[in-house]
């Protein structure tokens, strides 16, 4: 009960934050009723997906301060579990979702145990390596389609809520919106919880955290597992939403970097950060990418823009946009 109250307790945020949050929530609920293009709808769905990816990344990368650049491997595990179970055994999304999440969490424990013996850059590099290795495995594993990936067959009847197959995009929109709110409420609990505060203490000063009785290695593994569950859940959704999945699509290094980048741009270690980051980068990626590719003939320019953003964050404000907001507020109150 106490945990539930804590999850819905936003009282430590300033009133302006909450007003903006409520306004955004209302907008998200009514968006499908507003006039919109199908491209805008697809962008909104992607925004919600990347927000949840970012929330997951935030538990270990933000609150825990461990820069993780290998989240795509868990997107892959989630997506493939759902696709394979549906194609081979005709099992619905709601069955394969928890199984995919469990498999991903299991894998996260296996690689998290040795990975968290590493610190800083070495940890980041190792996460990239494990993700790429798993991608290679998936690409050469014919049971799950190899490099060509899998195609989920269409159901005879639509809408099908069990298998998450819809003709209209707004069904998908509301499903991922539900994930989004569950993630947000969970993360609000997490940041104030015992494990959340222990992680923030580890980020502050690991030696001190250990001397306060925190098993920092185990705490990081646990937070990593939580992050993994988020990411795998959206991965499962991705499989149903896209029908087609292939390793290059759901397990690429680009995807891992994008997840980390959005959370870091918005503000690693803050509740709103990943949402802000996704709200900026997803539309930018879609609209700029389309524009550069189609009209200007400058394919790849969007990648240069991402790289510039990464460098700007690293140089000026490691806490991202939310860090800038915090800094302005502090200078006003002083």
């Amino acid at each position: 009960m106490e945990a539930l109250r804590q999850a819905f307790d936003f009282s430590d945020f300033p009133r302006t934050d909450l007003c903006v949050a409520v306004a955004v929530a209302v907008f998200l609920f009514v968006f499908p009723a507003l006039p919109h293009s199908s491209f805008a709808m697809a962008t909104m769905i992607q925004f919600l997906m990347f927000s949840v990816y970012g929330m997951g990344w935030n538990t270990i990368g933000g609150y825990g301060g461990q820069v993780d650049l290998g989240k795509a491997q868990y997107v892959g595990i989630g997506a493939y579990t759902t696709a394979v179970m549906q194609i081979r055994w005709d099992l619905p999304f709601w069955v394969s979702l928890p199984i995919g999440m469990s498999l991903a969490v299991g894998w996260s424990f296996i690689i998290g145990y040795p990975l968290f013996r590493l610190r800083g850059h070495y940890f980041a590099i190792a996460t990239i390596a494990t993700s790429l290795i798993l991608k290679d495995v998936f690409e050469s594993w014919s049971f799950i389609g190899g490099a060509r990936g899998l195609k989920i067959p269409l159901r005879a009847e639509m809408p099908d809520f069990w298998f998450l197959q819809f003709r209209e995009d707004y069904y998908y929109y509301y499903v991922i919106l539900a994930f989004f709110f569950v993630g947000l409420i969970y993360l609000n609990w997490f940041r104030q919880s015992r494990i959340g505060m222990q992680l923030r203490c580890i980020k502050d000063n690991e030696e001190m955290a250990r001397s306060l009785g925190i098993d920092s290695h185990w705490a990081k593994i646990k937070a990593y597992a939580v992050a993994t569950a988020f990411v795998a859940a959206v991965g499962s959704f991705h499989a149903c939403y896209n029908f087609n999945i292939e390793p290059e699509d759901v397990m690429s290094l680009d995807l891992s970097v994008l997840i980390a980048l959005m959370a870091m741009l918005g503000g690693a270690g803050s509740l709103w950060g990943p949402i802000i980051g996704a709200a900026i980068l997803v539309p930018m990626k879609n609209y700029l990418g389309a524009w550069f590719g189609a009209k200007a003939g400058l394919i790849g320019l969007d990648l240069i823009i991402y790289s510039t953003i990464i460098m700007a964050i690293a140089a000026f404000e490691p806490r991202g946009i939310w860090g800038i907001v915090t800094r302005i507020r502090q200078s006003r109150s002083d």
Binding site: M197, D204, S211
Partner: protein, 254 residues
């Protein structure tokens, strides 16, 4: 009963013996000063006791258990708390949250941790700093908060590493009062590494002197400052000349 028993402790870093042949005991409720020149191995000794280093020789017993080579968090769970000489915070946590992290060793409930942290801060007269960020506190306040956080783990033995460094004389007086309160009111045994002799002379029931990694003297404060080997290794001739009345309150060495 000895709370802490260190036997023939040695710590070697490659070719350097940072500690060797160190043996002493700390009784329950005792307050002991640990002094010595820079590089004498004081912090290394703390790190061995607290589990940060695994000593290369000797044994450490805490609460009648052999704890040699245990991890820092295991030592903390057994009832050992420490402060660090240099404290660097990136500043993610507020003062209250920092102390709550200490409380989380004994409770899983956020409500209880918050209550206890609040009580602890108010009894240490730090309540007004609750919402401040750890990273931008004045030195004196930061040292007190770090102590409050260590106390929040409800330790039996507290290791203080230069808590008076960088404090002015008023703040040193306050710190003396605080450490005495920790020892007498909370009943926690204390070992303190300190260069501020005023604090050592005032608080310690017993003083251990470390030089070049080994214990060169041990005794009551008044006795210790007269020992020629201690004067030679650490205090210097000037200390005695300026404190011919060394048995009363000692002044800072400066």
């Amino acid at each position: 009963m000895a709370l802490l028993k260190v036997q023939d402790l040695g710590m070697r870093f490659g070719g350097l013996m940072a500690n060797w042949g160190v043996s002493f005991e700390i009784a329950s409720g005792e307050m002991v000063g640990l002094i010595g020149p820079n590089g004498a191995g004081k912090s290394t000794l703390f790190n061995c006791i607290a589990g940060l280093y695994n000593p290369t020789h000797g044994r450490i017993h805490f609460l009648d258990q052999d704890v040699t080579g245990r991890k820092p968090y295991e030592m903390a769970r057994m009832g050992l708390a420490r402060t660090f000489q240099v404290y660097v915070a990136s500043g993610d946590l507020t003062v209250l949250e920092n102390v709550m992290v200490g409380c989380f060793l004994k409770t899983r409930s956020r409500r209880l941790a918050k209550e206890r942290a609040g009580e602890l801060l108010s009894s240490m007269r730090l309540s007004h700093l609750s919402d401040r960020n750890m990273a931008n506190l004045p030195v004196a306040a930061q040292k007190r908060v770090v102590m409050a956080t260590a106390l929040a783990t409800e330790p039996k033995l507290l290791l203080l590493d230069e808590v008076a460094a960088g404090l002015n004389s008023t703040e040193i007086d306050e710190m003396i009062g605080l450490i005495r309160w920790v020892n007498t009111e909370m009943g926690i045994s204390v070992i303190l590494i300190e260069h501020v002799m005023e604090l050592v002379m005032n608080l310690s029931q017993r003083v251990l002197v470390l030089d070049s990694g080994t214990l060169i003297a041990e005794g009551e404060p008044e006795e210790i400052v007269r020992k020629p080997e201690v004067i030679k290794a650490y205090l210097g001739e000037r200390y005695l000349n300026e404190h011919s009345d060394a048995s009363s309150k000692g002044e800072p060495v400066a």
